[in-house]
Symmetry: C2
Subunit: 488 residues, 2 copies
């Protein structure tokens, strides 16, 4: 791929000025149109050391309003970053709707520096590449236009530039030991870059290789590509309406097979509960010691006992090691990002627990029922969620998911009780009564969710919730068992 | 202070159970009342290693809904954290209105571990203590209730606990080399703790020293203190109405003395601009090299040319090293925190530039005029802002503040122009016309701001904006001069 690049390509000053002037005007206008279009743009900037990334980027951005873009400098992962799944730091920096994020260096560090300097096995490399393709596809599916630049220069050219930079104290620091080491290993890097370009070029996230010997040439070609990408973003329909899928009528549900009559005696409960809680505490400390993160998800009908089950679960846990994350409708920044964005933010670091009271499954439950997500959006979400959870378990996390089930009659009973008991009345809102009316609307989405997202690495546990105490014991026991199985 | 603590204090099991039961109910109810009160609670948890912080905290939180609190574990500053002013990481974790944040270890690390292990000079210690007092006062002023626990045990008791912990592999890792080293230096730490307690006890942020030999005793006393603090938070009036201050009628304004007739010829402009921009780029690289952060603030009348000045300022800057932060009305999380919170988030790290297009000065401008902030709130803000900027400059940041001034006539001229030119029309909103009506309302707030927040370390530069080109040159020149003065 790279050998076909004409490194001698040049653009004369007059040609350059003639071409750039209308392009600048166009880019300025496109940026103003981008905001209302609601589609974000992600630009990846990769290239050899001293290939002129800063200069080209600076020129490229000059016609744009600096309030509409952010440049993210991607350094080697810090210690803190290593405590989370690798894509998290890139997810958190994705642009809001209508904005632009430029990643200066990017997730491709992992298949360049880290591959060459740390020696990545072929098998690991495949995993990393797949993770990257998945990430870029998810962004594209969500309406983001992804554009990737690689600035190419020859080894000889790089040597000449290092020499020039070293002369000015304001720039000499840019050529350090690492840069010189990478320069020596140019041929190895070249091979890795070739492969990277081939493996990760896709219509949804194309690579644009820029011959960068001549700065004007690289800049002009980059500006043209950017303009094309921005046009695509502006003209693109909001991610929603890409196609229409139909869901077959559901004949049966995993919930049909649930025996809601299960219960536990008071005596058994009082005996089992403290033991399980003590064990959970001990396991929590072992998880900390082994640096294992734990993600626990609670979904379920209103009044099914999520809150109570969570309270019993954390009762003896060390509060320094867990977070309970209540999830309601997205607000502010959460609304202007991919729906998974806020959950990437809330992930536990290694050794910690995060307990989600409702979760990303809102996408295929409330957002589906209330039509906040279009059909293609929530249909796609099953795969996205499975992939998301796969990234967590790939990283070593234990993912435990509960659906708390109860009968309609029992729910009504609990609503009435709440209304009557003054210290419980706050729990019941008119919203709850409205949701109860929608029980039937939720039946199919809940059933679909349980079937489509119960995976080997992140299975659902349906909890029989008519007897609250039975449910709490089952939750605790499941958490302990899953963690024990995951620990060494 | 600590020698008066009765380390032998004990609470019998029956006494404990009798006292805790009503306390638990009360704490649960207080937490439910806390949310609507809108007042947050900050709890600091400090204490000797193995003094039982985890256990006491766990018991304390059992009656609370885990969705309403967060525990923040404060470790030694990471490399990334060291690139920002020291209080930033604590600011970012402050609770939303009606929520509770528990800092397990806290900003007090700096006057304990860091003081003893790294040897902090007396002068530095004073600075750190003052910074802490200021932080806690700002939280209190904003309605936050601050409660600080210190768990005290004797050296002998600590030794016994270390021995016990070492026996169980689930807990043995808690007693490492550092813990043993600190144990040896117990007397030194004791002295530092004594001083810390004395220097940072204040009615707005009291220390509660808990004799922790007996776990029940520590827990019960902590629960009582927490209950009292929560009551205070629930009953506290929203921060707003603590007093009434009156502003004297303003006879003169710093703006009166501004010569708006100043201008520059096209020839001079075309000659000066590119030179200044090149110099800015060079200085930016030197700042990066010397790890100096730069904070630039733009305030000014609508259409005074802020956007254009920013564009010229960043024109040659390396986009990898600056961020332009557009500031509008707070949204989502920004609304549920102290008004400075979002600016702590946006601070530049060492070596980087952050350019604020409008800023924290909104507190004393639009929030004052539109009465979003009460009089005591915006009155207090002058001091708070000066202290905030002081923390930035203490950290080594260059803080540069511009107020772009223009005449009412020139503003009208520009509004009319914008209406006529199709590619500029987007800049003009009905809001702008409304604000123009309020010119007089803003005159006093702007004048107050310029006088009360122009400090030696962070002075205002008033920019004569009737001639846009003059203004742009003045901005660039000021930035360059201020940076040059700050560099070695």
């Amino acid at each position: 791929m790279l050998e076909t690049v004409d490194l001698k390509a040049r653009v004369s000053r007059s040609e350059y000025e003639k071409a750039m002037e209308p392009l600048d005007l166009e880019l300025g206008q496109l940026q103003r149109d981008l905001r209302p279009s609601g589609n974000p743009i992600v630009i990846v900037l990769e290239g050899w050391d001293a290939s002129g990334k800063g200069t080209v980027l600076n020129r490229l951005l000059q016609p744009l309003d600096p309030r509409g873009f952010t440049v993210v400098n991607v350094l080697a992962s810090s210690k803190d970053q290593l405590r989370f799944p690798p894509m998290r730091r890139f997810w958190l920096e994705t642009p809001s709707r209508g904005f632009i994020t430029i990643y200066n260096r990017s997730w491709y560090r992992q298949v360049l520096e880290e591959r060459i300097e740390d020696g990545l096995s072929r098998r690991r490399l495949e995993v990393v590449l797949e993770r990257i393709r998945r990430f870029e596809r998810m962004l594209d599916d969500d309406g983001t236009v992804v554009l990737k630049f690689f600035l190419h220069i020859s080894k000889k050219e790089q040597a000449a530039r290092f020499k020039a930079l070293s002369k000015d104290p304001a720039y000499a620091w840019k050529v350090g030991k690492e840069e010189r080491r990478r320069h020596k290993r140019y041929p190895e890097y070249l091979e890795a870059i070739e492969e990277m370009l081939a493996e990760t070029s896709a219509p949804c996230a194309p690579w644009v290789v820029l011959a960068a010997t001549d700065e004007r040439h690289a800049t002009l070609r980059a500006a043209e590509a950017l303009s094309a990408a921005m046009k695509r973003a502006v003209e693109r329909k909001p991610a929603a309406g890409d196609g229409i899928l139909t869901v077959p009528v559901r004949k049966s549900s995993p919930l049909d097979r649930v025996d809601l009559a299960q219960s536990i005696s008071d005596k058994e409960y009082d005996k089992a509960l403290p033991k399980l809680q003590q064990e959970a505490r001990r396991l929590q400390h072992l998880c900390y010691f082994e640096r294992k993160p734990v993600v626990i998800v609670f979904e379920g009908w209103d009044a099914a006992g999520k809150g109570g089950a969570i309270r019993r679960l954390v009762y003896q846990l060390d509060p320094r090691g867990y977070d309970v994350v209540p999830v309601s409708a997205p607000q502010g920044e959460e609304k202007t990002h991919h729906y998974l964005w806020r959950f990437w933010r809330e992930l536990p670091k290694t050794g910690h627990f995060a307990i989600f009271d409702r979760s990303w499954y809102g996408r295929v439950l409330v957002e589906r029922v209330e039509k906040f997500a279009s059909e293609p959006e929530w249909e796609r979400a099953y795969r996205e969620i499975n992939e998301f959870e796969q990234e967590l378990t790939d990283f070593g996390a234990v993912v435990i998911k509960f659906f708390l089930h109860l009968s309609r009659e029992e729910q009504l009973e609990r609503f009435n009780q709440r209304e009557q008991e003054p210290h419980k009345r706050w729990k019941l809102t008119p919203e709850d009564w409205r949701n109860r009316e929608k029980w039937d609307d939720y039946w199919v989405p809940v059933s679909d969710m349980l079937e489509k997202t119960s995976t080997l690495h992140a299975p659902w546990t349906i909890v029989e919730g008519n007897d609250k105490r039975f449910a709490r014991i089952k939750v605790l026991r499941t958490v302990n068992d899953r963690i024990k199985a995951a620990l060494k």
